[in-house]
Amino acid sequence: MNTVDGTVSGIMKSTEMDVMKGKEQLLNARFIKIVTENKTAMFRLAYSMVLNQEDAEDVVSEAITKAYSHLAELRNIRKMKSWIFQILVNESKAFLKKRNRMELVEDVSLLEEKGRGEEESYDLLEFVYELEDTFKEVVILYYFEEFRVKEIADILSISEGTVKSRLSRARVKLKRFLESNNNWKG
């Protein structure tokens, strides 16, 4: 990749195409890095919403493809991760719309697989998967993926106030869950 050298003459020499090419490569590299590092987190979020392993895998693949094809529209590179998660949430919701939820047979095989040696954590995730959709999303994004309230608001296209309110209601349920498992003394 050609780069400008920082001097005015150096900058003058660098063509617009060089700069654009550099940005393309930067975007590409970041995209691949973020997806690689977050593929498990993406699966966890998609699974929490569609509650079926194969469907979650399909949704993630679709989201990755869609995000990549719209990468040029990303205005702020530092928001790439939350932008990818936003697309994932939208894809999951679109998928749920298509699927008749009444016919859903909950895939418990994955949950059963999980418990090995991680009794406490397994229970927490299982509990989260059973929460209502609105709580599940914010709990996964806040506690598991450690997004900030503002970022969650962007991802879910809701206000920060709504995120805080849902978190606060979810927190009550999580507290009760921890107490019932002797994991919490207030």
Partner: protein, 412 residues
């Protein structure tokens, strides 16, 4: 963050999430295919839009996201929308006037006077689906008032145009009432999407994408790079000449007035430090600096809890003011300034970072992050002066349980 949150996050961290080998392979395969071909960028240059125009579009986006009418509309719904008289459509369109746009509306189109109960939220979702499928519409219409009268008793839902808010009775809403609310939102979206203003916006956006040059009043890329380098030298004392640079030009976020948009100049060093400097295309005023190393963002702190006594707070605060004066290249008069941070049970700053917003006499607010454990500045954000706004509009950390110390008031 409280003790319970920490406990849950700790448990979440310990959580494994088994994924199948086929999933891993599938993702890797997808990425391999992408690796060979870079995404093709289009230049987004020279799109001119007023602040009010930008506000309208933020508003449009929020509303259209809330009720996406464009997506394959059911024929019954389409018929219902198109059967609106011109007068009716104009009335709904007027409800979308940006004068009703407040800060809260930037991410949420319409407010509710109270939260919907779990059952109402569930029913609203189901009814919305039925509405979209064209199988269920309300029999009547929700009452719409321009401005709510004082002490008005709310016995059934009504919509206040001025505040863009649904006022709801305390009792549970009926399906018919929820449908009437959905109907209003749907009609508003339809009217908005078909308004001349939005059509003009999309036309202008298209022209903006096709035009490869920044506006006439904007500085050149070379000037923008030089300006961004100078900002980084002042802020972090770094030499950018050996760093990789990429330059973009984007529609401004409306943060600072002037020009057609913002330059985004990104510098990346071999040591993985990345500085993304955004500056106003016309004035060169700094809009933001985002700092990161690898995946770690230095716009927030990541260190271990650390003690920050009053003396250190004062010294960092004064250092921040000096930095701002240097960035602006002039003497500054700070009207208000905070030192914000979160503390743990031991009274230590949890993420080892101080957040310092400074409000100048001209109403502009500059927010700095200071990474205490590394004794360096993190990111910077600028907010242009807004009528009626003050420092408190830019302080959100207090709501998250952070401590906000007013530093200028302390001196008086």
């Amino acid at each position: 963050m409280n003790r319970l949150d920490k406990k849950i996050r700790k448990m979440a961290k310990q959580t494994g999430c088994p994924v199948s080998n086929s999933y891993e392979e599938r993702v890797e395969h997808l990425l391999e295919n992408m690796n060979g071909e870079n995404v093709k960028l289009e230049r987004n240059n020279g799109f001119s839009m007023s602040k009010a125009g930008f506000a309208t579009c933020v508003f449009c986006a929020a509303l259209l996201v809330a009720v996406p009418v464009t997506a394959k509309v059911n024929s019954a719904v389409k018929e219902r929308m198109e059967s609106m008289s011109k007068k009716e459509r104009k009335a709904y369109e007027t409800m979308n006037d940006p004068k009703y746009l407040t800060k809260e509306h930037e991410t949420e189109a319409i407010r509710y006077s109270r939260e919907l109960s779990e059952d109402e939220e569930k029913r609203e979702g189901e009814l919305f689906q039925k509405y979209e499928e064209g199988v269920l519409f309300p029999e009547g219409e929700i009452q719409v008032v321009d401005k709510l009268e004082e002490n008005m008793e709310i016995t059934s839902p009504l919509y206040e145009v001025w505040n863009r808010e649904f006022f709801l009775p305390e009792r549970e809403l009926t399906d018919e009432e929820l449908l009437q609310m959905i109907d209003l939102m749907y009609k508003q979206s339809y009217a908005l999407e078909n308004s001349d203003e939005v059509k003009e916006y999309y036309k202008a956006l298209q022209e903006f994408n096709e035009n490869p040059n920044p506006g006439q009043n904007d500085m050149s890329e070379e000037e923008a790079v030089a300006k961004a380098s100078a900002y980084l030298k002042i802020m972090y004392d770094i030499d950018t000449s050996e760093m990789e640079k990429t330059v973009g030009f984007e529609l401004g976020g409306g943060l600072v007035d002037g020009g057609d948009g913002d330059y985004s100049v990104t510098f990346e060093g071999k040591d993985e430090w990345l500085y993304d400097v955004r500056l106003n295309g016309e004035t060169g005023i700094l809009t933001s600096i985002n700092v990161s190393k690898g995946e770690i963002s230095y716009n927030v702190g990541h260190g271990q809890p650390i003690e920050v006594d009053e003396q250190l707070q004062n010294s960092i605060y004064e250092k921040t003011k000096e930095k701002l004066a240097a960035l602006l290249g002039e003497d500054i008069k700070v009207r208000n300034g905070n030192c914000e941070f979160s503390v743990n049970e031991d009274n230590k700053v949890t993420d080892a970072a101080l957040y310092i917003p400074l409000e100048l006499d001209n109403g502009c607010v500059y927010q700095f992050t200071y990474i205490v454990d590394e004794d360096r500045f993190g990111g910077v954000y600028t907010y242009g002066a807004e009528e009626g706004a003050d420092l408190s509009d830019h302080v959100s950390r207090e709501e998250d349980g952070a401590i906000c110390i007013p530093m200028e008031r302390n001196k008086r």
